[in-house]
């Protein structure tokens, strides 16, 4: 498969769904990818096992604030500088780009990186959705080291973090990103194609394209946003009121940077790590947490995350308790995943 101008839009629409309301607005990075494809050509998408086992992957993600990234849109040389650093650290060239996070704006952003570098995009990513912390990814669960992690800004200022674990990466990277002014491009959890084949979330690029083409699950609820509360610190509550066949139903969707729970009558219809998305009935695009607003017509959909997220270790890293939702029991997404 190739991501050309047309497939890119489907891919981006799917990335927005997999963002579970987080990961930053896809609309900001879609033109970044579109221009890269226009200038450098369509991006081939390859499965990890189509590459040599020891081929060096460039795992990339934008980290920091999407609001800052919407202002500092980045430079064309950014991916090349980052790739040169990573290649230098590992002593061989980068063979493919892998998205650090398929959900939200990182999906299209990594397409742009692959296009500019002239390498394929791996049909895999490190999460399978979006999560707020850098160490909330399946490579951490697989025991891979996050270091040497490389953080760079659009001027090419670079920080290498070495000999650290995932929790330390999260702490230190946030400090670096703050000094960078709220935006950086990160290459963390460096890996080979073989490691990606064994440990990454496989097929996530093609999954996003399929989702974007309309292979959407049956909605849990069709309705409208009746209230939005934002107590701060990324927490938000969105009250959905059913319409049409769902009239009379009320569902509360809770967010902690991402949508993390959909509750009806005290029961979880869906619960993190399930993907929970509100699809704007008018545009067909998933709605970021920060853009949920009163009166919006939406479909509430849920998708199972990668099965590894439902293991004991996965739930400890990014399950309900990691988002302050202790005591909530799992919704139907978990059964589907098994």
């Amino acid at each position: 498969m190739h991501l050309d101008a047309e497939a890119l839009i489907d891919f981006a629409r799917g990335c927005a769904v997999l963002g579970s309301g987080g990961g930053g607005p896809v609309a900001d990075t879609l033109p970044v990818a579109a221009q890269a494809i226009e200038e450098c050509g369509p991006v081939p998408v390859v499965a990890p096992d189509a590459l040599a086992d020891d081929a060096l992957m460039l795992p990339v993600s934008l980290v920091g604030s999407p609001a800052v990234a919407a202002e500092r849109i980045g430079g064309r040389a950014e991916a090349e500088r980052l790739a040169a650093h990573v290649a230098g650290l590992h002593g061989r060239p980068v063979a493919a780009v892998m998205s650090g996070e398929i959900g939200g704006q990182n999906g299209p952003f990594t397409v742009a990186c692959a296009a500019r570098l002239g390498v394929p995009l791996l049909d895999a990513d490190s999460i399978g959705r979006a999560f707020p912390r850098l160490d909330q990814n399946v490579l951490e669960l697989a025991g891979l080291s996050p270091s040497p992690a490389v953080l760079a800004d659009e001027y090419g200022r670079t920080v290498v973090l070495d000999h650290i674990d995932g929790a330390y990466l999260e702490e230190l990277a946030r400090q670096v990103v703050a000094v960078f002014g709220g935006r950086a491009v990160s290459a963390d959890y460096p890996l080979t194609a073989g490691q990606a084949a064994r440990h990454a979330v496989r097929g996530s690029v093609t999954r996003a394209v399929r989702l974007g083409r309309g292979e959407e699950p049956v909605p849990l609820l069709t309705g409208k946003v009746a209230a939005v509360r934002r107590p701060g610190d990324g927490a938000a509550g969105v009250l959905l009121e059913g319409t049409g066949a769902d009239a009379g139903r009320l569902v509360q969707v809770r967010a902690r940077s991402e949508f993390v729970a959909a509750m009806e009558d005290g029961r979880a219809l869906a619960l993190v790590p399930d993907v929970i998305a509100l699809i704007d009935a008018r545009t067909g695009w998933a709605v970021p947490v920060e853009e949920a607003r009163y009166g919006l017509r939406v479909r509430l959909v849920t998708l199972a995350a990668d099965p590894v997220w439902y293991t004991e270790a996965g739930l400890r890293l990014a399950g309900p308790a990691a988002f302050g939702l202790d005591g909530l029991t799992h919704g139907p997404g978990r059964e589907e995943a098994r």
């Binding site: 033109p31 919407a70 202002e71 500092r72 002014g181 934002r230 947490v289 009166g295």
Partner: protein, 446 residues
């Protein structure tokens, strides 16, 4: 006792109303003169009785010239587009993704020079002054207007102002130079697009502003009467402000009709259906002002940072469509009344809106003109606060910026009221908060 004349220059008819202490006392409707907004206005205003309009101290005008110029790609100035961000902000080039004809109609030349600032003290780069001078020299005599956008201009606009000074030296005193910092919202590409549209509209809008100013003495209003024009958020601005930000008038027609409908019906929260000859527009009033569309709106196919009224448009004769749109726009469980206005409203029977409380206010056929006459002068500002502890000071600063923007737009500085919107957390930037304030006031007496 304040008397105001409100005018709505629509595509088919031009409406004028006379307001005395907020209540309509007279309304007239005349056919619009195609392509002549000011002639249409004069035709309508002079139909109001001379003794009545002689008491009017303000003329509030709803114009659609900007919207028509963008959709019709006519009357647009050729713009020199200068971005300040250099190689650190070139993944999306200026005007990327614009519809080709619009780009061709607007673009006189594009440059992206080094510079830009940020949230952290060490962010950003020095301004490449020679490159700006070269751009100004290259486009002098060719560009009819300039749009300047720098990275993080809403936080620090100094480089944009410096760039404007350099350009001015090359292009002379008469070419409009518009700065993105005045447009305000964060998000470089949509803010730049909005600034380019402002610049593209500036020549046309300046001509209309001149015509309005020239026509004013002949309208027979009070000797010191002032002219205000409507904007997208349901407030008013002065002609000078319109010259600086013509894009603010985009979407102003529906915004004023929504406000006028609510005021005529005595409702601050309502679903409003404006039925025209061919199309019906359905919007929502919340707190007396139009509910905004979600971010990411486009005008003429271009994503812009402007916030437009949230509208659904359906065929005016499709009554089922109107009912469905009125239902879709209902914000929540408590059903809002549906206010029917516009010239085509009588053609929509109550039965088509079964289940809604339908309100048909008197003078609903001139709701736009009424909304213009009865609206305050407005302003707004937004800021991202990154340092914890600074919040209180920045709250005051944002309020003050909004207040100053309303005063610049023509509000009476003594009577401006500011409203701080609910603070928004900035995702993934710990400690950062987005503050937004709006300001409203009656027109300045000067």
């Amino acid at each position: 006792m304040t008397v105001t004349v409100g005018v709505d220059v629509g595509p088919s008819s031009t409406d004028a109303v006379l307001l005395d202490a907020g209540r309509p006392v007279l309304a007239v409707k005349v056919p619009s003169r195609p392509g002549d907004a000011v002639g249409s206005l004069v035709g309508a205003v002079t139909r109001l009785p001379a003794d009545q309009r002689a008491r009017a101290g303000a003329l509030a005008v709803g114009l659609r010239v900007a919207a028509r110029a963008v959709t019709g790609r006519s009357g647009l100035a050729r713009v020199g587009v200068l971005r300040i961000g250099g190689a650190a902000a070139d993944t999306v080039r200026p005007l990327f993704g614009w519809p080709e004809e619009l780009r061709a109609a607007v673009c006189a030349g594009v440059a992206n020079v080094a510079g830009g600032t940020g949230l952290a003290p060490l962010d950003g780069a020095p301004l490449d002054e020679p490159a700006i001078a070269a751009f100004g020299a290259e486009l002098a005599g060719r560009a009819e207007a300039f749009a300047v956008s720098s990275v993080f201009a809403p936080v620090d606009g100094a480089q944009e102002r410096e760039a404007a000074r350099i350009l001015r030296a090359h292009v002379g005193p008469d070419v409009p130079i518009l700065l993105s910092g005045a447009v305000g919202a964060l998000g470089l590409v949509p803010r730049e697009n909005a600034t380019v549209l402002d610049a593209a509209l500036s020549v046309l809008v300046a001509r209309v502003a001149d015509e309005l100013t020239a026509a004013l003495p002949g309208l027979g209003l009070a000797p010191d009467a002032d002219i205000l024009v409507t904007r997208h958020d349901g407030t008013l601005m002065s002609l000078d402000y319109l010259r600086r930000q013509p894009g603010l008038s985009l979407g102003s027609g529906p915004a004023c009709t929504l406000r006028g409908a609510g005021l005529l019906a005595g409702l601050r929260a309502a679903v409003v259906v404006d039925v025209g000859e061919r199309r019906a527009r359905v919007g929502v009033l919340s707190g007396g002002y139009p509910r905004e569309a979600a971010p990411g709106e486009r005008i003429g196919g271009v994503p812009v940072s402007l916030r437009f009224p949230d509208l659904l448009t359906v065929d005016a004769d499709d009554h089922r469509g109107i009912a469905e749109a009125a239902d879709r726009m209902q914000p929540a469980a408590d059903r809002l009344p549906v206010v029917l206005v516009g010239g085509g409203a009588p053609r929509v029977p109550d039965a088509a809106l079964a289940g809604f409380e339908v309100v048909r206010p008197e003078h609903g056929d001139v709701a736009g003109a009424f909304g213009a006459a009865a609206s305050p002068v407005g302003g707004g500002a937004e800021r991202i606060v990154h340092r914890p502890g600074a919040l209180d000071a920045v709250r005051d600063e944002v309020r003050e910026l909004a207040r100053a923007s309303a005063v610049r737009a023509g509000a009476d500085p003594r009577r401006v009221r500011t409203v701080l919107d609910p603070e928004e957390f900035v995702p993934y930037l710990p400690g950062a908060v987005l503050l937004r304030a709006r300001a409203f006031g009656p027109p300045s007496p000067l």
